[in-house]
Symmetry: C2
Subunit: 82 residues, 2 copies
Amino acid sequence: MTQYMDVHHGMQGVTPDQIREAHQADLAIEKEEGVHFKQAWADPDSGTVYCLSEAPSAEAVQRIHERAGHPADEIHPVPITV
Amino acid sequence: MTQYMDVHHGMQGVTPDQIREAHQADLAIEKEEGVHFKQAWADPDSGTVYCLSEAPSAEAVQRIHERAGHPADEIHPVPITV
């Protein structure tokens, strides 16, 4: 399993409730791809959302995000953590 | 205090030791600006590094990163966390 940071752009004005709902939608189906979404952070002003996950591949992360209705714009493996 | 996600580009080939040293350099002086760098994640292939901090302002985050020798390319407040 590798950690991934994925990034969503264009989410200006996103609310805490919307982020919570989106995260819940991911959590509800993530096991089907062996993914776990650990945390997410949002900047409503610039419309940027960052999601940290553990997953078998970037494609698995994207499949869950797509099925949950919010495909990521970037997905980076982040093998180094401090 | 607000949480910030800052992003560094162009760090292709960065190693775990370099990330650890950079993080330690931030931690050594962060209190002088009331900042705390909580975690960092790096993708050596794309050369992207993400740092999560708590700080009084984006400028305070940047002042520490600059003094430690690695100014950020983007600094986003992330008031929403799940």
